[in-house]
């Protein structure tokens, strides 16, 4: 292949270096440039052309496949919903280490919750926190429903001063961040007002014509407790903040639900307040964060994933083992028969290989059922009593029988191609040196076929641990794999973060195997029955 670099404008040099006159300087190409440069340029051009040919496909696979998977994996650590929905609460909690926080945190929570309710995201937040503290979902849903009635201040304020219900007056007080009004300097109310104005505008209404929401008024009432900056006081005059009858917001929350007064929900918010979380990975390993921030096992009733991972691995190993046991003799027979017969028998391997997965799974479903063909035959032959038909489906046995059948060709094909390359003369030599049949096979033939076993096993194992369809259809509950759990979390429980974390763990495992396979066999050496 070395002469492939000589494409391009270089004419064949008859005799090469030997024909070169001894007195000449660096060897020159036909166009007068030094040959080394010319070759380099040609090589570069060749590399570029190869990359240009590959680029469209690489781009296609990256965009349609690799990127989506990376994007999904990001979900496994994404926790932005908590800090983005409860920004004020998270900030106030950071300053309050007591197990059940005090008034400032509840004030922050009221505003956050009111805004979240307006944006209809409080239920999603509740769902998120519910993964970490059971009860959060109902707590947030109920609080969101009632948060409108939490308002102790809004009615008082409107009664004291009609301007409080006037959008135009508020606009003048607050101004915009670029052109600040007299109340811009206050702590809570400007941000609350901006939020409300943005939500109102987004709903297609003019904030100038609308009465600000109750929670905007509450924010202002909370701001008016201390001494006011002079420009704020003069803008609000004659409104007198001292006339407001005050009450702790904390009590209103506790009255709505006593759980707000327990440490549970606050622990959950504290532990999961960052934009990223290890929570889903911990859940995928049946663990969780303790209130102290350590990692502890989940309660026994919630542990399932490690068990499923182990079951997936063990069953995949069993299936791989069966594939070796059944595949080795067949591959050996095929490799030792004359090509004509072998090609004919190969059809028996290739037909299942080419037959739809669903067809093969339906076949097993039909065969293995209690009223199915195999049980019928056993009953007819008198091996099994009619009332004691074997249960071979919707359990582990069903999954193993069907998956071994489906994956067996993936074992036979690489084994066969390795065995084809073992020279028969080695075994004959062993025999002539006095080895008996078994020794000749075990000491001479078998070691040479090990690469085929390795290639086939890794391939079968990789395919097995990711299986979904067959376990779903013939596995019942005791024969399902981790993939089925991932599908459950995506389409039924909608806990996408956990699904992504489980997927990431499975993917890491598969990629390690893939890498090993590439090392041992080389991915371009995969044989597909051609």
């Amino acid at each position: 292949m070395a002469d492939a670099t000589l494409t391009g404008p270089i004419p064949p040099a008859p005799g090469g270096a030997a024909a070169r006159p001894p007195e000449a300087g660096p060897m020159l190409a036909a166009d007068g440039t030094p040959l080394r440069l010319s070759l380099q340029r040609s090589l570069r051009r060749q590399k570029l052309r190869a990359l240009l040919l590959i680029a469209p496909l690489l781009l296609f696979v990256l965009v349609t496949f690799v990127f989506p998977i990376g994007d999904m994996l990001m979900r496994s650590v994404d926790n932005r919903i908590v800090p983005e929905t409860l920004p004020r609460t998270v900030e106030a909690l950071a300053a309050d280490p007591s197990p059940v926080p005090g008034e400032p945190v509840f004030e922050a929570l009221l505003l956050d919750l009111a805004i979240a309710e307006e944006r209809k995201v409080h239920t999603r937040l509740g769902t998120r926190l519910n993964y970490e503290w059971a009860g959060a979902s109902s707590l947030f849903r109920a609080a969101g429903r009632e948060v409108g009635r939490f308002d102790h201040y809004a009615d008082q304020m409107r009664a004291l001063d009609p301007r409080m219900g006037d959008g135009a007056a508020w606009a003048a007080w607050m101004g915009t961040p670029d052109a600040p009004g007299p109340l811009r300097g206050l702590a809570r109310s400007p941000a609350a007002y901006d939020e409300w104005a943005a939500l109102t505008a987004a709903a297609g209404r003019d904030p100038l014509d609308r009465a600000p929401a109750d929670w905007v008024l509450t924010a202002l009432a909370l701001d008016l407790r201390g001494p006011l900056p002079p420009e704020a006081a003069s803008a609000l005059a004659p409104f007198d903040p001292a006339a407001l009858e005050r009450a702790p917001i904390r009590d209103i929350f506790l009255e709505q639900d006593r759980k707000w007064g327990e440490p549970g929900i606050w622990n959950a918010i504290r532990l999961y307040s960052g934009p990223f979380t290890p929570g889903y990975y911990l859940a995928a390993l049946d663990r969780q964060l303790s209130p102290e921030g350590g990692i502890v096992l989940r309660p026994a009733t919630e542990r399932i994933h490690v068990f499923l991972f182990v079951r997936t691995l063990v069953m995949s190993l069993v299936i791989t083992g069966f594939c070796i046991l059944l595949g080795y003799p067949v591959a050996y027979l095929l490799a030792s028969l004359p090509a004509r017969t072998a090609n004919l028998l190969m059809i028996l391997v290739l037909l299942p290989f080419w037959t739809s997965l669903l067809v093969r799974t339906s076949a097993w479903k039909v065969l293995l059922q209690q009223q199915g063909v195999i049980n019928d035959i056993l009953v007819w032959a008198g091996i099994v009593a009619d009332n004691a038909r074997l249960v071979m489906i919707n359990n582990q046995a069903g999954t193993i029988i069907a998956m071994t059948h489906i994956l067996l060709p993936f074992m036979i094909l690489p084994l066969y191609s390795v065995m084809k390359g073992i020279p028969p003369s080695y075994v004959r030599a062993a025999r002539s040196l006095g080895a008996n049949d078994w020794t000749a096979f075990w000491r001479v033939y078998f070691p040479q076929s090990v690469p085929g076993i390795g290639a086939g096993s890794i391939l079968v194992f990789i395919l097995a641990i990711g299986y979904y369809i067959t376990p779903e259809l013939v596995g019942g509950t005791s024969g399902v794999f981790i993939s089925n759990r991932i599908a459950y979390h995506i389409s039924t429980s909608l806990n996408w973060g956990l699904a992504a974390a489980l997927g990431a763990l499975l993917l890491v495992f598969v990629l390690i195997l893939y890498w090993t396979y590439d090392r041992l066999v080389g991915i371009d050496n995969v044989k597909l029955g051609g």
């Binding site: 492939a4 670099t5 494409t7 090589l43 060749q46 590399k47 052309r49 240009l52 040919l53 590959i54 496909l57 690489l58 296609f60 696979v61 349609t64 496949f65 690799v66 989506p68 998977i69 994007d71 999904m72 059944l326 027979l333 028996l348 290739l350 037909l351 299942p352 080419w354 037959t355 739809s356 669903l358 067809v359 093969r360 339906s362 076949a363 097993w364 479903k365 039909v366 065969l367 059922q369 009223q371 199915g372 063909v373 019928d376 067996l408 990789i462 990711g466 299986y467 979904y468 779903e472 259809l473 995506i490 389409s491 997927g503 499975l506 993917l507 598969v510 590439d518 597909l528 051609g530």
Partner: protein, 283 residues
């Protein structure tokens, strides 16, 4: 592996024992596929052989499940969806895949190993993970539940097979042929169309068949990616198997077995043609 005349009794037993064992394994491989064919002609709504069928009574057999398969909209719509999705996905996979395989088979490709690993990954990554990732991403860009979303996803899944088969064919391709074409004045495009492509065509077709079957058989990704309007045949079979609807599934399965027999025959012909060409070409 013929048995020599001087073989001992033990060797004889082992010889025939081994063949019987292999026969049983072949039986395990092929019997499940063959058994559904007679069952699909069942006159009853059962998934097993009725006494009439075992007695070879013509009354026990009928074409009713085939009639159902070919007339019922619940089966016809998925069948047509499959037939619309698979060729388009195959076209994309084969076009891009063949180009890339030609690029990959050049003698100096930077990062060849890494590129290869990325291109083969759709075959290795568990389908449920691919399906989940594509579902989230495609719904964000509005392709979830559309024809093109399913086609793009299936094309990505079929690409590894095209790459593997076409690069394997290119290994045996004699490079001096392209140089000969170039020296006779053909440009790179003309060389590709008139010299290289006809010679690697068996590999390209084989890769295309793989890509087609991948899309035609695929059920996990399409269940996540597709809406009811994109329901494919395997999807319908999956729902049918879950809900135990009717033996029409077996009729559908038999039709699919017939399709795979045809595919296998085409591949075998290609393999023979390839062997013949290789036998003629000095390598």
């Amino acid at each position: 592996m013929a048995l020599p005349a001087y073989a001992s009794a033990g060797q004889r037993i082992w010889h025939y024992g081994f063949r019987i064992l292999c026969g049983l394994i072949f039986f395990y491989l092929i019997a499940p596929i063959l058994v559904i064919i007679p069952l699909s002609f069942n006159a009853q709504n059962f998934f097993t052989f009725t006494p009439e069928m075992l007695a070879l009574d013509p009354a026990g057999y009928s074409l009713r499940h085939y009639r159902d398969f070919f007339t019922n909209i619940d089966w016809q719509l998925p069948l047509w969806n499959s037939l619309k999705i698979a060729p388009m996905a195959t076209l994309i996979a084969v076009t891009l895949g063949t180009l890339a395989a030609v690029g990959l088979s050049q003698s100096h490709v930077p990062f060849r190993r890494a590129i290869m690993a990325v291109l083969i990954s759709p075959m290795i990554v568990p389908l449920i993970i691919s399906a989940a990732g594509m579902y989230f991403f495609y719904s964000r860009i509005g392709l979830q539940g559309t024809y093109w979303g399913v086609v793009l996803a299936h094309a990505a899944l079929g690409i590894p097979f095209v790459i593997i088969t076409v690069t394997a064919t290119l290994v045996g391709f004699d490079r001096s042929l392209t140089r000969a074409a170039a020296s006779l004045g053909a440009g790179p495009l003309r060389t590709f169309w008139r010299v290289q492509l006809p010679l690697i065509l068996p590999g390209v077709i084989a890769g295309g068949l793989f890509a087609f079957v991948t899309s035609f058989d695929e059920v996990v990704v399409v269940m996540f990616m597709g809406a009811a309007g994109q329901k494919t045949l395997p999807w319908q079979m999956f729902t049918g198997l879950r809900e135990q609807i009717s033996p029409t599934i077996l009729a559908a399965a038999t039709v699919l077995v017939a399709v795979s027999v045809v595919l296998l025959a085409v591949l075998e012909l290609l393999r023979r043609r390839n062997e013949r060409l290789r036998g003629l070409a000095p390598s």
